[in-house]
Symmetry: C2
Subunit: 462 residues, 2 copies
C-alpha cells in the first residue's frame, strides 16, 4: 500500500491537470443544447478508464445519455466492488453569479480550503469525485496492488433522474453483478471530521402551471375582477405549509420514519455550530419545521421547496399586466419509507383540490427518487470506516444527509447489492450553486482513501 | 360639418395607411433598447401634425423621451382645447403569444369587429387614438371649419409613469394654457353602447426583492433548514389579501371613496353580461373582493395584483436549487382620495414588517399616479356627450374605468384645467396584452366624433 500512496504523491499534479480537462466540458444533462458535450464527456471518462488499465471499457448507448462501463476482474473468487458515479452536471444558472467561468476551472484558496480548491461546475458533484476513483485504480493497477475485483458504471443522467440507468441495470444484471456498490457523491462533515453517509433523502419533483384568463390582461381594466394566476399560485404555495412549518399535503407524513429520541440524541452529538452555519449563509435566523433542530430538518425530515417560480412581466421597468399563466417548480425531499410516486400523486391531488374555481391547474411530474438508508454493521461500512481511519487518523462519524441519490434504492432492488456512501466533498462546496468547488485536500484524500477501502473490504469478506 | 365628414370619408384609406406606418415603429418606453425608435416615433408624430396644418410644431426634448407640441390658434378669444395623447407603447412580451408581429400591423376581422381591426402593439393604446386627433384636425383645417383653438401635447413616457411630462407642464404653463384637456386613451362599453369615462384609478407600483441565503443552495443539503425566499415571498404575497379578498396592508383603505348605494345602483344599470365576460376570458368563475360586483371591483375598488414574479431555476427540466433571491413586481390600482405616494409607503412599511427574520426584503418604488374623477356637469362633458349622440345616434353612458392615466390629476393641479376622457377603444381590444387591436369602426368613429366635440364645446363656452 505504501507504493500505491507513493505513486499517488508522485503523480498528483498530472491527476489534477487531467481533472481540469474533464471539468472544461459542459456536460449539462438538463439542457438538450449540451447533448454533444455530454457525449464528449462520456468518451473522456471511458478513455481515462482505459488509460488507467481498466478492461472492457465501453460507452454504452441508452435512450438518453450513454453510460460508461469498465471492469478489472483479477480473480472471480474475490469480492467485486461496483463503483458508481456520474459525469453529468447541474446547469450553471444563474451564470452571472459565478466569479469565474463555470467551465473554466481555476484553483483558488478559501478560508475552508487553505490549500486551494478547484472552482468549476461539477468539480465536487460529481466529476471530481468520480475521477478520484479513476486515479485510485490507476495507482493500484500500476503497482499491481488491486486486492479485489472492481467494476465501473458512470452515468450521464443523475441530475435529471437517472431514468435510463434503471433500465440499463435491469438489462445488465449479470454484467453488473457485484457484492457492493461504492459511491463517492456525498460529503464529509469537515476536513478534520470525516464522516460516512448512512442515509439519503428521496425526491419528488413537479412542475405546476396555474392558468387564469385565456390571455394576458391589462391590470387596470380587469384587476380586481379576475383571478390573477400569480396571486393564486402564491396563495396555493403558501398554504402548503402550516404555521409550524409542517407540510399540509394530505397524507404526506403517513409513511415518514420517526426516529427514536435515542437516535436523535446520538445525531445531536455530531459537531454543528449554528452560529457559524448562519454566518456562512449570511442569514440572521434559520427557519424550518417546529420541534426539530436544523440538522434534523435537513436530514431526517421531509421538505417542500419551490425551486423556481415565474409568471407575468419579468423584464426591466414596469408593466401593468394581469398574466394568463404562472408557473413553479416544486420539489419535496423524502425520508425513509416515503414513496416518491405516492408523494407525487398526493401532491397532485392536493394541488388540484385546493385550486379555486377561478383558475385551472396542471401538475407535471418530473423525476423522483426513493430515500435510502445504509446499515453500519456491514463489511462495506466497516471497510469505509477503517479506510478513513487510515487516511484521516480518526474515526469517521455516521451521518444522515439531506440530498438524494435516487439510484441507491434501485441498486438494492435490481442488483441486490447495498451501497456504501463514501464521499469527500463538503456541504460548503456550493454544489448546484454558482462557484461550485472541490478542495484539493479532498480530491487527494479521496484518491488516497479508496485503495484502503478495497484492501479492508477484501479482507473483511474473506 | 358635412364637408368635414365628407373629407373624412374620402380620405379613409389614406388615414389608415398612415396609421399603419406609425404602428410599425416599436416605441417601447420601458426598454432602453428601443430609444432610437422612440425618437423616430416622436418625429413621425410631429411630421404628421405639420402635414395636417398645425402650427408651431416642435419635438421638445426632456430628460427622458421627447414631447411633441403643436397648436392652431385661430382666435385668442375662442376657447382652447389641449389634446393629450402618448406615442409610446407597452412592451410586446410575451412575444410568442402574438399571432402576427406586434410591429407588423395587419387587419383582421373578429366577432366583435366584423369590419376588421388593426392588430399591432399600440393600435388602441394609444397611437391609434392619438392619430384620430391628427386626422380630425386635418379634416377641420382642410375645410376651414375649426371652431376653437387647439393645442397638442403628445408624450412618450405614459407607459413608464410620465415623469418628465409633469416637469414639462410645470415649465410651460403659459404655452399649455387651455380651457380643457381632451384625451382619447380610454374605452367605450361596446360599439353600439357609447360611454364617456368619468373616473380612472390611480397606481402604485413596486418591485420587491426577498433575499434568503447569500448564494443559491442545494435543496437537499439545506432544504428544510434554511428559509427559501420563494416560499417566503409566496407567503408574504398570499398574506396581502384576507379570505374576503380585502387587502391587508395597514391603512390601505383609510382614504378610499365609498360610493353611496344610489351611485352603485346607477352603475349597475350599465349593460354587463357576466357570462359573456367569463366566456371571453375563458374562465369558469370570477374572483374578487367580497361584497362588490365585478364591475365595481374593476372600477370603484382598489386592487393589489402581482404583475410579475421570478426566482430560482426557470429553465427546462429540473434543478434542485434553494435560491438566494426571489422577486416580484406588484401594483396597486387606487381609487379617488387614495394617494399614490402614501400607498407606496404604507405597502413598503407593511412588507418590511411582515418579513420573517430569516430573510431580508427590499421594496423599490416604480412610477405611480393619482386616481381621477371628472364631473359630468361641465361644458366639456356635455360637448363630448352631444358629439357622441351626433355620431352614435344615442346617449353615451358615464362610466368609471379601472385603468389609470396618472397625468389627469397632475393636469388639474398644474394647468388648472379639467380633462374629458372621450376614448373609442373597447376593453376587449387586448391593450397591454398580446394581439392588441383597434377596430376600424372605432378608429373612424373617433375621427368623425372629435370635430363635433370642438363644435359643441365652442358653442357651450360662448
Amino acid at each position: 500500500m505504501q507504493e500505491v500512496q507513493n505513486y499517488i504523491q508522485a503523480n498528483k499534479d498530472r491527476f489534477l491537470e487531467e481533472l481540469l480537462e474533464l471539468l472544461k466540458i459542459p456536460s449539462v444533462s438538463a439542457d438538450p443544447a449540451f447533448k454533444n458535450d455530454v457525449i464528449k464527456t462520456a468518451e473522456f471518462v471511458a478513455d481515462s478508464l482505459n488509460k488507467a488499465g481498466v478492461d472492457n471499457v465501453e460507452v454504452c448507448p441508452t435512450a438518453g445519455n450513454p453510460i460508461v462501463y469498465g471492469d478489472k476482474i483479477i480473480n472471480p473468487d474475490l469480492p467485486t466492488v461496483l463503483v458508481y458515479g456520474h459525469y453529468d452536471v447541474q446547469p450553471a444558472d444563474p451564470i452571472e453569479l459565478w466569479e469565474s467561468g463555470p467551465f473554466e476551472p481555476v484553483i483558488k484558496k478559501t478560508e475552508i480550503h487553505p490549500d486551494g480548491a478547484i472552482f468549476a461546475r461539477g468539480s465536487c458533484d460529481d466529476k471530481g469525485q468520480l475521477y478520484m476513483h479513476v486515479k485510485a485504480i490507476e495507482a493500484l493497477l500500476a503497482n499491481d496492488a488491486l486486492p479485489c475485483n472492481v467494476k465501473f458504471m458512470i452515468e450521464g443522467e443523475e441530475e435529471v433522474g437517472s431514468v435510463n440507468l434503471g433500465i440499463f441495470c435491469k438489462e445488465n444484471t449479470e454484467k453488473l453483478s457485484c457484492d457492493v456498490i461504492l459511491i463517492s457523491d456525498t460529503s464529509i462533515i469537515a476536513n478534520d471530521t470525516p464522516s460516512i453517509t448512512t442515509a439519503l433523502r428521496g425526491l419528488s419533483y413537479v412542475e405546476v402551471e396555474v392558468t387564469g384568463p385565456n390571455r394576458d390582461l391589462h391590470s387596470g381594466v380587469y384587476g380586481g375582477g379576475v383571478a390573477n394566476p400569480i396571486n393564486v399560485l402564491c396563495d396555493m404555495i403558501a398554504s402548503l405549509h402550516d404555521e409550524n412549518g409542517h407540510i399540509t399535503v394530505e397524507g404526506f407524513y403517513d409513511d415518514v420514519e420517526e426516529l427514536s429520541m435515542e437516535e436523535r440524541k446520538k445525531m445531536a452529538e455530531a459537531p454543528f455550530n449554528e452560529e457559524a452555519y448562519k454566518k456562512s449563509l449570511g442569514i440572521d435566523a434559520v427557519q424550518g419545521e417546529k420541534g426539530y433542530s436544523t440538522e434534523e430538518r435537513v436530514s431526517i425530515r421531509p421538505t417542500l421547496d419551490v425551486n423556481g417560480i415565474w409568471g407575468g412581466y419579468i423584464g426591466e421597468g414596469a408593466k401593468t399586466v394581469l398574466p394568463s399563466k404562472a408557473f413553479a417548480k416544486i420539489s419535496m425531499r423524502l425520508v425513509p419509507h416515503q414513496d416518491s410516486d405516492k408523494i407525487t400523486e398526493l401532491f397532485s391531488n392536493h394541488f388540484n383540490k385546493i385550486a379555486p374555481d377561478s383558475v385551472k391547474v396542471e401538475v407535471k411530474p418530473h423525476h423522483g427518487g426513493a430515500p435510502a438508508v445504509t446499515p453500519t454493521d456491514t463489511p462495506e461500512y466497516q471497510a469505509a470506516h477503517l479506510a478513513m481511519i487510515d487516511t484521516f487518523g480518526k474515526d469517521p462519524i455516521p451521518k444522515r444527509e439531506g440530498g438524494s441519490i435516487p439510484i441507491v434504492a434501485l441498486f438494492e432492488e435490481v442488483l441486490n447489492a447495498k451501497s456504501v456512501l463514501m464521499g469527500f466533498g463538503l456541504n460548503s462546496d456550493a454544489i448546484h450553486s454558482p462557484n461550485e468547488h472541490f478542495g484539493l485536500f479532498n480530491f487527494y484524500k479521496g484518491i488516497e482513501t479508496i485503495p484502503y477501502f478495497y484492501k479492508h473490504y477484501a479482507e473483511l469478506k474473506k
